[in-house]
Symmetry: C2
Subunit: 304 residues, 2 copies
């Protein structure tokens, strides 16, 4: 439990300090936002509607606003002739909001201000400093994304499971030399992934599935890892590692002593991941036509 790094007070205060610094800096910009003479709420709303317009439902979700409140603000914007609203052609309940000419101008002004603000942050810096700032920003964003990834057990019959599986198969199809035919593949059936005989984990970023991994319990202390997949857009931030950790933890809890898995020679990153995590290559333990390598790992004392 005592993690050393996490309980380190200094580390935490570093993070808190960063928050303070950045909020102050960005708070100052927020005021600039207001510099348009419009209340912040309206400005944000206007900005969020964007050039292409949006549905009210979408806005409500994106800005996390009370539906009544949003409706009122929209009407205020309408009264100022900044937006026009109309029914959504596909669903008569949904309203579509579009920027009117004045609204487009207001939007452009907000956009300009936002750019100016960003520029004013860079302006006093030397080219070298700018480069370092951008690099650090990119790094922070990546790591914030990484930190926002959650892993959860899901129903293998659910929608998300299906979406992940389809994405997984599509990827295999693209990458395998021999192509990929789900029919001939030794897939785990959804029934095999219902606890306690198996688990399907999904990794999400902002609610959207971006990876999965499954554990199938076999006989006499054996377990098999299947369906390891991470969306291209979310690679390089340690999602696969976390999925693997979670699966192994789950396996341990289920009394599994040896975890096995197979993989294709084209999936190099996967092989690297398994090697890093102490998986040893073993002879084929199944006849999966798409498998070129078979691995196993003996799980030792629980470490959590």
């Amino acid at each position: 439990m005592d993690d050393g790094t996490l309980s380190d007070d200094d580390t935490l205060s570093r993070v808190r300090r960063f928050n303070r610094t950045v909020t102050r800096r960005i708070g100052a910009l927020g005021e600039d936002y207001l510099g348009t003479g419009r209340p912040l709420g309206e400005a944000r709303l206007l900005f969020e509607i964007g050039k292409d317009g949006a549905t009210v439902r979408d806005l409500r979700e994106r800005l996390a606003l009370d539906s009544g409140y949003l409706s009122r603000m929209l009407r205020a914007l309408e009264a100022q002739k900044l937006i026009t609203t109309g029914r959504d052609p596909d669903d008569g309940r949904v309203r579509r909001v579009t920027l009117a000419a004045r609204g487009k101008r207001a939007w452009a002004m907000l956009d300009r201000r936002s750019k100016d603000m960003a520029a004013s942050l860079l302006e006093p810096l030397s080219p070298a400093q700018r480069e370092r700032l951008l690099a650090a920003m990119t790094e922070i964003e990546r790591l914030f994304r990484a930190s926002a990834v959650t892993i959860e057990v899901v129903d293998p019959f659910g929608q998300e499971s299906e979406d992940c599986l389809r994405a997984y198969y599509t990827e295999l199809q693209e990458r395998f030399d021999e192509g990929f035919d789900p029919q001939s593949y030794l897939a785990a059936r959804p029934d095999d992934l219902v606890p306690p005989s198996g688990w399907l984990l999904v990794a999400r970023l902002d609610g959207v599935p971006i990876g999965c991994g499954a554990l199938k319990i076999g006989g006499s202390g054996y377990g098999e890892i299947k369906r390891m997949w991470v969306a291209k857009s979310a690679r390089g931030i340690g999602v696969a590692q976390r999925l693997l950790d979670a699966l192994e933890k789950q396996a341990r809890q289920a009394g599994v002593q040896v975890v096995q898995l197979d993989t294709n020679r084209k999936l190099v990153e996967a092989r690297g991941l398994y090697a890093r995590n102490g998986y040893r290559e073993i002879p084929a333990y199944n006849t999966n036509p798409y498998a070129d390598h078979w691995f196993e790992k003996r799980l030792t004392g629980s470490d959590t």
Copy 2:
């Protein structure tokens, strides 16, 4: 004017994206702040009062609040028995605010939440990722600080001028082998630094002077740079470079063709700065007892 880097749309959108990402992440914390059931303003105030208490004047300054508004909030906290107030022993006009027992508990809770939040950001990351996150945060803070530094012409008879000069002299005293005695030093007199016969520039960070530099106009196209100083706490973020740039710009505008300056052998960074900026070492042009090196630079076509 066309800077290339600054007008680069991609660079700006990078910055804006960072702002969005971070605000969202930190906005989520703001709500956590609220998770205490207290309005944000009160929570911030309570937090700012801190374990040691604070004077009302201090709070007003730190949180940039209207004095009436602050007073009202304090009264609200008092009504909730979170704080107690009393006169400042040194100045009967000033009021001191101290956390009462309940206030201390509330404060501890806010502190806990803030820590938890920071921890929850780190928790999903691997040790290597954590390290990189902290490094990037430190870098961003440094560069934000750098970007927040402003440079302005000030009155050489003013308070800030005096403060800077004293700090400058103290530093010289510490660093020169031979010590430093202002009396025997060939200082620029304040009168020499009043435009248009001279300029005194002060660099500020959050309103606090952290550096200065002066330009003294001599005869026949000559100018001399004096009083170059940057506070220890603000070194390594390019303040001296910016001061030098500003002084040279000022010199150009004043028709100066050659800038001269002297410096002591112990001020190595300064010598490096001048060398980097095209200053050539020349024979002694004065009899300053503390000078070991004399430099000059011929200013060419204006570049701004």
